[in-house]
C-alpha cells in the first residue's frame, strides 16, 4: 500500500503494529494490551516456567478471575475444588510473574471484557488480546481486539507480540434510527441472522452508520462483543466524542498532556473517505424488530413477532438436518409463535449485556412490577464497579422488590462454569451471546435477547415483545 492510499481504521491499526512482515504474509504484530483470566492461562504460565521464560511486559498485562467465581455468598469461598484451584493458580501465577491482578475481593473485579474498558486499560488504536473469543468487545473503542488460544497467550506473555496474517475489511453500516424498544443487541442479532455464524470469517467487521454511531459505548460494546458470533476475527467501531467522553478520567487512561496527545492521535484513526473494503453491507435500522433466538446457534434468530421456522423450508439439506436437531434439543416445533414460549429462568448479565446501561434498562422495565410465578430471574452485574454504581442508583432495590435475584459479578450462567446453571430441559431467556447446546448447563435451552426483552420475559413468564410493555 503506498502512502496516500485511503485506509480503513483496521489498516491503520494493523500497519502501526507491524514488527516484522515475512514474504509469505506472516506478520509479527506488537500487542499493546493483554488481558488474562483463570480458565485459559494456567497452561501458558506453566509453559513459561518450563522454558525458564519471563513475562516480557507485565505492565501491559492485566489479570482477573471471572469465569469460575461464585456470584453468591462469596465470603464462603468456592465449593467446587477444580474452580478453586484454577483461581488459586491464577493468583499464584500473577504473583510469581508480577502481573497486576484483580482478586475476587477487589471491587474492580469483574468480567474481563467489562473491566478493561472500565479501567481505561482499553484504548483506541491499540491491539488488545485475551484468551477469550469475546475480546472482540474492546473493538467498540476503535481497538483491534481479538481472542487467542493458550499457546498464543504464552507467546504474548513471552514476547508481547503475536504471529498473525492480515484479515480482510468488511463494513456493515446500519443506517437510520432504531425504533423504540430496539437495542444494540437486536441490531447485532439481526446482522448475525443475515450473514450467518461464518459470514465474517477471515474479516474484521467495522460497524458504521448513524444507528451505530448514535449508540452509547455500552451499546457499541454489545455489538462488537458478538462480532465473533458472526465468525469475524474482530469487530471495530471508529472512536469519536462518545469514546473520548467515556474514557476521560478512567484510572488507566492517559492524563493531562498525555491525554491531549493521545486524543489528537485517536482523531486520526477513523477510516479515510474512499477506503477499500473487501465487502460492504447496509441495513436499515427502522426495519429491525426485537430479536429472539429459537435454536442452538446465534444465527437461528427471528423477530419476536415471528414463529419458529420450518426445517422443510431450509435451503440446504445440511441446514435442514441441523434445524431438526436444534428444534429437538430446544423442545420446540415449527410454527410455534415465539411469544407462546414460556421460560422458567432468566439470566441478565455477561460481557454482552452486564454493564450499567443494561441493568438500568432492566430496572426500568421491572419497576413496580413482579417476576412471574415460577420464574427465577438472575441479574449478575458485569463487575464490582457496575454493581456499586447500580446500587448507588437504587437499581438493586427496584430489582429485588420486583423479585429479581441480585448477584455478585462474574460470567455466571453465560457459560455455567460456576454453580449457576440450567437444569436439563430448563428454558432460559438470556442476555448472553451463545445459545449452543449445553452452554448454560447440560440440557439447558437458551433464548438470546436484549436485556429489556429478558426483563419482560421474567415478568410475564414467556417470551414477550417489549414494545407491549413500554
Amino acid at each position: 500500500m503506498t502512502a496516500g492510499t485511503p485506509k480503513t481504521l483496521f489498516d491503520k491499526i494493523w500497519e502501526s503494529h507491524l514488527v516484522k512482515q515475512s514474504e509469505d504474509g506472516t506478520c509479527l504484530i506488537y500487542i499493546d494490551r493483554h488481558l488474562v483470566h483463570e480458565v485459559t492461562s494456567p497452561q501458558a504460565f506453566e509453559g513459561l516456567r518450563q522454558n525458564g521464560r519471563k513475562v516480557r511486559r507485565p505492565d501491559l498485562t492485566l489479570a482477573v478471575a471471572d469465569h469460575n467465581v461464585p456470584t453468591h455468598n462469596r465470603a464462603a469461598g468456592i465449593e467446587d475444588e477444580q474452580s478453586r484451584i484454577q483461581i488459586e493458580t491464577l493468583r499464584r501465577n500473577t504473583a510469581e510473574f508480577e502481573v497486576p491482578f484483580f482478586d475476587m475481593d477487589d471491587v474492580r473485579q469483574g468480567i474481563v471484557h467489562i473491566i478493561g474498558p472500565e479501567q481505561g486499560f482499553t484504548l483506541p488504536g491499540t491491539t488488545i488480546v485475551c484468551g477469550d473469543s469475546h475480546t472482540s468487545t474492546h473493538g467498540a473503542f476503535g481497538a483491534l481486539a481479538f481472542g487467542i488460544g493458550t499457546s498464543e497467550i504464552e507467546h504474548v506473555l513471552a514476547t508481547q507480540t503475536l504471529l498473525q496474517r492480515r484479515a480482510s475489511n468488511l463494513r456493515i453500516a446500519v443506517e437510520g434510527e432504531l425504533p423504540l424498544g430496539v437495542t444494540a443487541k437486536d441490531m447485532i442479532l439481526s446482522i448475525i441472522g443475515r450473514i450467518g455464524t461464518a459470514g465474517g470469517t477471515g474479516h474484521v467487521i467495522e460497524f458504521a452508520g448513524d444507528a451505530v454511531m448514535n449508540l452509547s459505548m455500552e451499546g457499541r460494546m454489545t455489538m462488537c462483543n458478538m462480532a465473533i458470533e458472526a465468525g469475524a476475527r474482530a469487530g471495530l467501531i471508529a472512536p469519536d466524542e462518545t469514546t473520548f467522553a467515556y474514557l476521560k478520567g478512567r484510572p488507566m487512561a492517559p492524563k493531562g498532556a498525555a491525554w491531549e496527545q493521545a486524543e489528537a492521535y485517536w482523531r486520526s484513526l477513523p477510516s479515510d473517505p474512499g477506503a477499500h473494503y473487501e465487502m460492504e453491507l447496509t441495513q436499515a435500522a427502522e426495519h429491525i424488530d426485537p430479536q429472539v433466538t429459537w435454536g442452538t446457534s446465534p444465527e437461528d434468530v427471528v423477530p419476536v413477532t415471528g414463529v419458529v421456522p420450518d426445517p422443510e423450508h431450509a435451503l440446504t439439506e445440511a441446514k435442514r438436518s441441523s434445524m431438526i436437531e436444534s428444534l429437538d434439543y430446544m423442545g420446540l416445533s415449527a410454527g410455534t409463535r415465539l411469544q407462546d414460549i414460556s421460560v422458567e429462568k432468566v439470566f441478565i448479565g455477561s460481557c454482552t449485556n452486564g454493564r450499567i446501561e443494561d441493568i438500568r434498562a432492566v430496572a426500568q422495565v421491572a419497576e413496580g412490577r413482579k417476576v412471574a410465578e415460577g420464574v427465577h430471574a438472575m441479574v449478575v452485574p458485569g463487575s464490582g464497579l457496575v454493581k456499586e454504581q447500580a446500587e448507588s442508583e437504587g437499581l438493586d432495590r427496584i430489582l429485588s422488590e420486583a423479585g429479581f435475584d441480585w448477584r455478585e459479578p462474574g460470567c455466571s450462567m453465560c457459560l455455567a462454569m460456576n454453580a449457576d446453571k440450567l437444569r436439563p430441559g430448563e428454558r432460559c431467556a438470556s442476555t448472553s451471546n451463545r445459545n449452543f447446546e449445553g452452554r448454560q448447563g447440560p440440557g439447558g435451552r437458551t433464548h438470546l435477547m436484549s436485556p429489556a426483552m429478558a426483563a419482560a420475559a421474567a415478568l410475564t413468564g414467556r417470551i414477550t415483545d417489549i414494545r407491549e410493555l413500554v
Binding site: 509479527l28 480458565v39 497452561q43 516480557r56 514476547t159 470469517t201 476475527r233 449452543f436 452452554r439 440440557g443
Partner: protein, 200 residues
C-alpha cells in the same frame, strides 16, 4: 511439539455443520490447569447422555473409536477460543481434521498443537465423508510434505496450506522460540512506540 509428516489412519465422518467448541468440549471440562487428559471431555454431550451412558455416536464404536482423522461439516470449531478443543482432540488421537471451512481461532489453535486442519472444496469433502463411513476400510492417508489426501480407493487430491505453518508443523517448531530470535526487532519497535505513543 511433535513433528507432523504423514498420517494413515481410520477416518470418521461427523457431517454436522457449525460444530462449536462447546460441543467439542463442554465448559465443565475446562477447569483443568493441564493440557493433557482432556479426551474424557471430547464431544462429551454427544458421546454420553446425562447419566453417563454411551449414546449412538460415531467415535463410540469401532473402528472409529481409533480414528485419527475427522471429516466434518462446514465452519468447524466456531465459538470460543478454548485451546482445550484441540487438546481434547489430540488427546483422543485425532491428528487431522478435514472440512470445507474452519472458524479462525480454532484453525490457528490446531497448528500450535500439531494438528493439521485441511480445507477442501465441498465435493471432495463429500467424497471423503463417504470414504469415512466404510468401517475398517475407512482409511485415509494425509501427507503434509506433498500436501495430499488419499482415500481408500487410491485417488488423491492436493490441499493448500500456508508455507510458514507447514514448515512449523513439519519440523515441530515452537513459535515462541522463533519469535524470541526477533527480540531486537521487538526492542526497536518498543523504543519507537515509546516516543510516538508515550501514553501506552
Amino acid at each position: 511439539m511433535d513433528k507432523f509428516t504423514s498420517v494413515t489412519g481410520i477416518a470418521a465422518s461427523l457431517p454436522l455443520a457449525n460444530i462449536d467448541t462447546d460441543m467439542i468440549i463442554p465448559a465443565r471440562y475446562l477447569k483443568t490447569i493441564k493440557r493433557t487428559g482432556l479426551a474424557e471431555g471430547l464431544f462429551a454431550n454427544l458421546r454420553t447422555d446425562k447419566d453417563g451412558n454411551p449414546k449412538d455416536f460415531v467415535l463410540n464404536d469401532p473402528p472409529y473409536d481409533k480414528a485419527e482423522i475427522l471429516v466434518t461439516g462446514e465452519n468447524f470449531g466456531c465459538g470460543s477460543s478454548r485451546e482445550h478443543a484441540p487438546w481434547a482432540l489430540l488427546d483422543a488421537g485425532i491428528k487431522v481434521i478435514i472440512s470445507t471451512s474452519f472458524a479462525d481461532i480454532f484453525y490457528n489453535n490446531c497448528f500450535k498443537n500439531g494438528i493439521l486442519p485441511i480445507t477442501l472444496p465441498a465435493h471432495i469433502v463429500e467424497q471423503l465423508h463417504d470414504d469415512a463411513t466404510r468401517g475398517s476400510n475407512a482409511r485415509i492417508t494425509v501427507n503434509l510434505e506433498n500436501q495430499t489426501v488419499a482415500g481408500p480407493d487410491g485417488g488423491s487430491v492436493t490441499f493448500e496450506i500456508d508455507p510458514f505453518r507447514k514448515h512449523c508443523l513439519l519440523n515441530g517448531l515452537d513459535d515462541i522460540g522463533l519469535t524470541m530470535g526477533e527480540v531486537e526487532k521487538i526492542d526497536d519497535y518498543e523504543s519507537k512506540r515509546k516516543l510516538s505513543q508515550p501514553w501506552l
